[in-house]
Subunit: 312 residues, 2 copies
Amino acid sequence: MNEKSLIERIRRAAGTRSQRAGRGIGNDCAVLSLPRGHEALITTDFSLEDIHFRREWHPPDSVGHRCLARGLSDIAAMGGIPRAAFLSLALPADLPQSWVDKFIAGLLKLAAQFSIPLAGGDTAQSPSGILADIVVLGSVPTGQAILRSGAQPGDFLYVTGTLGSAVAALNQLRAGKKLRPRSHPKHFYPEPRVAVGQFLRERKLAPAMIDISDGLSTDLGHICEESGTGAVVYAAALPAAAAGKDGLTLALHGGDEYELLFSARPECRIPKQIAGVPVTRIGEILSGKQMTLANADGQMQPLKPAGWEHFG
Amino acid sequence: MNEKSLIERIRRAAGTRSQRAGRGIGNDCAVLSLPRGHEALITTDFSLEDIHFRREWHPPDSVGHRCLARGLSDIAAMGGIPRAAFLSLALPADLPQSWVDKFIAGLLKLAAQFSIPLAGGDTAQSPSGILADIVVLGSVPTGQAILRSGAQPGDFLYVTGTLGSAVAALNQLRAGKKLRPRSHPKHFYPEPRVAVGQFLRERKLAPAMIDISDGLSTDLGHICEESGTGAVVYAAALPAAAAGKDGLTLALHGGDEYELLFSARPECRIPKQIAGVPVTRIGEILSGKQMTLANADGQMQPLKPAGWEHFG
């Protein structure tokens, strides 16, 4: 597929949504207004074949969904409102057109769910494999973006949803098992927690937040590093998707989750469910620099960042 | 080089500039304020090894420079003010660290020239070759972005700088010739015409503009298509970098130029030089849909878009 026909296909598929973006695909830049009093949030995320997905494992609409979900989840983690997406897409010359159409359809379906246009991007021929880079522009009232650096000793730690099933599905794929994508939505069609992030930001409930894209242990490490704190995680409290020691390991270190991890002052009441998503208290921010895992029997052990690495 | 050390190196190299971006690298998103009354401009551009550059042809600082120049030139073409850059960078595991350092240095040197921070991005291991995607965020007073669609029959057509030497250098590289990069700055270190674009926008001189990244014939075609017009180009007026028929062909169809092509109402006085860059009147916007080349002897021939294709 040559670049011109690719741009045309994306334009057609994006259709009226691109019109709404004002002057999107078709000029050197997209032009977008942000609400008065808002700051811009920008995030970029690669989705590279054989690094972030595999063609034999992931159907094209899942690749498109996951590609955009990565960016939306970053916006969610700041408490932001997604405004527009931009896609840089490089394709091998021999890629079937139907693959591209389904990829774009998966991406646009998720975009429609969050009412954002695909407002621009770039296309190129790929020297090898499918290469996508998604940019999501969001906005947030000035000064209200939730950073990683706002946690304080004494804050409670919360996580949305359940942990571990995304990487469990990945491990099954790695072991050569065929999976029905619709039966493993946490891996194939993850839902970015945009509404949860906005709820927490609007009510000023979360002084620090991150999405669990690299695994709880690694991403909690980021909050601790940026906030200059330590933390304790209660093993028994973790909303692990599977039971037992394996379930705990996957919940602690499995990435690719798109759940949110946030801190809240101990006096703040955090709902058990936000926007239909369960929220679980899993630990506490401590002074010092250490991360600790408290087991059910009261034993404490050091918690080391050991999150998900790309499956290159 | 693993991802963590890459992020660290970029952070260190970007240094205080990233600080200025507020909360850039180190959170899920970068947070950036735009001036009140401004709209956002966003552009994304791939720089892929063996598609947009070759390691044996382009020194790493030139690859970094060209990578960012692509995005800055898109901002220039809308009359915008660049605000921040974001880099998604995937590298092969065996790439020497010195290559990356020089690439980043080349990119940051150009960023410093335009006073913009490298405010975020993504890193990954590449399955094959060096893969970069640059995002540039700019801004423009609301409603004042210069689009491709504003040309009217009777407008004069202007171009900045000279045309053809970038692709001439590329052709020499293709022919196996070794070039000294500093002796061919139009190819290795192109200067995005940001100041020219801003000058034209501030004075409302250019109703339509584009950068010549795909070649004059192709990019003029974009203006004509978006404006619903035709155009005539005077061959003798073209600021071709080389003489003769070859020089004319390169000026008409050679891309990778980063010069600006714009229209202006016939009653507007356009300076012969803007921000130190020569500006040349090369033709006129016509009604109808045809593009025509008028030769020095008065002969007219159809002008077909035949711009530069990626050298994949």
